[in-house]
């Protein structure tokens, strides 16, 4: 009897293995193939392919021979790329700090038991529904030096009024910033407002009892409690900034000259118009590196920290 059950156990063990591999939940496995293929072929495969071919001298077709770091040397020797990188850095720093600060301030204002809250929210958020192309083109028109805001003000007699950033290579990045903030701050506000409302109401009672001024409570008590939302906001804003492309295409086309070029546009132009695939791939690999520099510390903090706790 014991022998029988022992052999039976072994048998069912092997049977189990075979079954689990092939027949068990076969539909579930078939249904998972799109995801598996996407992960393996696109997210892993394509990324590795790009990294590999960024070390070749591919031009019109990715058949080039291995040239080591040549593409990268050339990349950082190209002024257009360097301008792109600096633009992204400036845009990134300003955009990130302004969206966070403005988003938070607006959220605090919205949190003051105001009337028409949902109307205000609707107005602040609608730009987020629009594409960057639409955003860019509207602002391009508003910033038109002769017929836009500047022209209008001058026609109205304010001769001193200047708003020609879009045409000035030293200021064009701020033109991008204005359009970018117009599109994104409403969403940040919504995110921050959710964070504010997620804070325990008791905190407010306690700080009132202690006689702490409202602004201090917001700044020193509530803000630190919103860590989760803030991290989310930074990650979202950060990975959006790296991808900055459509807005530039629509608003400035990289101009004047090359003064508002950004890396994503560099990649596209070299790959699809200049026919220099190796350069495009090297540039996109640099973009990947940038994102990794943002994402990995964050992921490490979040999930490394939590791992230790559990």
């Amino acid at each position: 009897m014991t022998d029988a059950s022992a052999s039976e156990r072994q048998e069912s063990g092997t049977a189990r293995y075979v079954r689990q591999l092939f027949t068990r939940n076969i539909s579930a496995k078939i249904a998972a193939t799109p995801m598996i293929v996407t992960v393996l072929v696109i997210f892993i495969g394509c990324t590795l392919w790009t990294i590999y071919y960024s070390f070749t001298n591919s031009r019109l077709l990715p058949t080039g021979t291995f040239v080591g770091l040549d593409q990268y040397t050339r990349l950082f020797g190209t002024s257009r790329w360097n301008v792109s990188v600096w633009n992204l850095i400036w845009y990134g720093v300003f955009s990130l700090s302004f969206t966070l600060v403005i988003g938070f301030l607006l959220a605090v204002l919205m949190d003051q038991k105001i009337r028409f809250e949902s109307a205000f929210r609707t107005i602040m958020l609608y730009p987020f529904a629009l594409s960057f192309i639409v955003t860019g083109l509207v602002w391009q028109w508003i910033m038109n030096p002769t017929l836009g805001l500047q022209g209008t003000m001058r026609n109205l007699g304010f001769d001193w009024f200047t708003f020609d950033w879009i045409a000035r290579s030293d200021m064009v990045i701020y033109a991008l910033l204005i359009a970018g903030l117009w599109q994104g701050t409403g969403f940040m506000m919504v995110l921050m407002l959710a964070g504010l409302r997620g804070v325990d109401e008791e905190i407010w009672k306690a700080s009132r009892v202690d006689g702490i001024p409202t602004w201090r409570t917001y700044l020193f008590i509530v803000l630190p409690m919103m860590r989760g939302v803030l991290v989310t906001a930074v990650v979202l804003a950060g990975s959006g900034i790296v991808r900055l492309y459509d807005l530039v295409v629509a608003l400035t086309r990289g101009g004047p000259g090359i003064s508002s070029e950004v890396p994503a546009k560099y990649v596209y132009d070299y790959m699809f118009t200049a026919g220099n695939i190796g350069q495009g791939l090297a540039a996109s690999t640099m973009m990947l590196l940038t994102v990794m520099i943002i994402i990995i510390p964050w992921a490490y903090l979040e999930f490394g920290g939590r791992g230790k706790k559990s």
Binding site: M110, E117, L130
Partner: protein, 314 residues
């Protein structure tokens, strides 16, 4: 337990909470309506609203003006001679660098891209999410984690290999290629959305259906899907606005015959020859923005939930 998947889940959950916690201010108690503080408060909000509304105002008024009126140079002024000419020109005869057919071909291309992309990407993601929650297999969580990490990789990194892949498949430069790309890049966030939703349903429901003898598809269609209407609506909103607003994939994969509306719009405004017609440009811009704006105003609170969750896409 603590893997990138749960981690991004939390990001998304934080974001989705937006919807739930939006009602009821928690700030200090309201004071009488017209205190100096209140006046300052409303003034700031009012100025902020002017900033947000001004472009919409300019877009609309300009699109109804005539060119001489625009050349007069007052962007604030409402149209004196109210005319819809710019709109009809933008729709049917405005010129891109190549043709003079207006935006309408782009509109129809966008529709042709939008409908299948939205349906396929949502369906695939719903099945993924359901599978990830109820039919885990060895490694399924790892695939999901990579998928979520993948959503942070800039599109530019995968762009060229995808061009080669679609070329190999013989669909490069056609609408199916754009649909495929939208399905791929919509997958992380939508899968996350559906996974979290299905994980919030009581597991006993699935178990009961298994005991009743139902299999993978039967449970999906007869038990899970009828319960997922709210999340399907969120996914639809997310995808309709996201795919409609896409520029990059359209310009790379669609081919010159199938360019979506955003690309056509950019071509009309930015690569047209001759003197720019700002009224036509603004009418075209307005037309392109109309679809997401309608979705936005109709869906209201659900939109907030959708974009909040979708923002994880970065």
């Amino acid at each position: 337990m603590s893997n990138p998947a749960t981690l991004s889940t939390n990001v998304a959950l934080d974001a989705v909470k937006t919807d739930i916690t939006l009602d009821g201010p928690h700030g200090p108690r309201p004071k009488p309506f017209f205190t100096p503080r209140r006046i300052i408060l409303y003034s700031i909000l009012f100025v902020a609203c002017l900033y947000y509304l001004f472009p919409l105002y300019v877009m609309i008024t300009t699109s109804f003006k005539t060119m001489p009126e625009i050349r007069f140079g007052n962007i604030f002024a409402p149209p004196i001679e109210f005319t819809g000419e710019a709109w009809s020109k933008a729709w049917s005869s405005a010129c891109t660098g190549l043709t003079c057919q207006g935006l309408s071909p782009g509109f129809w291309n966008s529709i042709k891209i939008l409908i299948p992309s939205v349906i396929i990407s949502t369906a695939v993601a719903a099945v993924n999410g359901y599978g990830l929650v109820n039919w885990k297999f060895k490694g399924s969580e790892i695939f999901f984690a990579v998928l979520i990490f993948g959503s942070f990789i800039p599109y530019q990194v995968m762009l060229y290999p995808l061009v080669m892949l679609t070329r190999e498949m013989g669909i490069f430069g056609t609408i199916p290629a754009v649909i495929m790309v939208h399905t791929i890049f919509g997958m992380p966030i939508l899968t996350l959305l559906f996974r979290n939703y299905f994980a919030s349903l009581p597991p006993e429901l699935f178990k009961a259906a298994r005991v009743d003898g139902a299999g993978f598809w039967r449970i999906f269609f007869e038990v899970m899907l009828p319960m997922s209407l709210p999340i399907v609506v969120v996914a639809l909103i997310l995808q309709v606005t996201g795919i409609w607003n896409d520029f990059l994939f359209g310009v790379v994969f669609a081919g010159t015959q199938n360019l979506p509306m955003t690309v056509q719009l950019n071509n009309i405004v930015n690569s047209a020859q001759g003197t720019p017609e700002y009224n036509v440009n603004m009418a075209a811009t307005m037309l392109t923005g109309l679809v997401p704006l309608i979705v936005y105003f109709v869906s209201g609170r659900l939109f907030v939930r959708g974009v909040a969750a979708g923002a994880v896409k970065g």
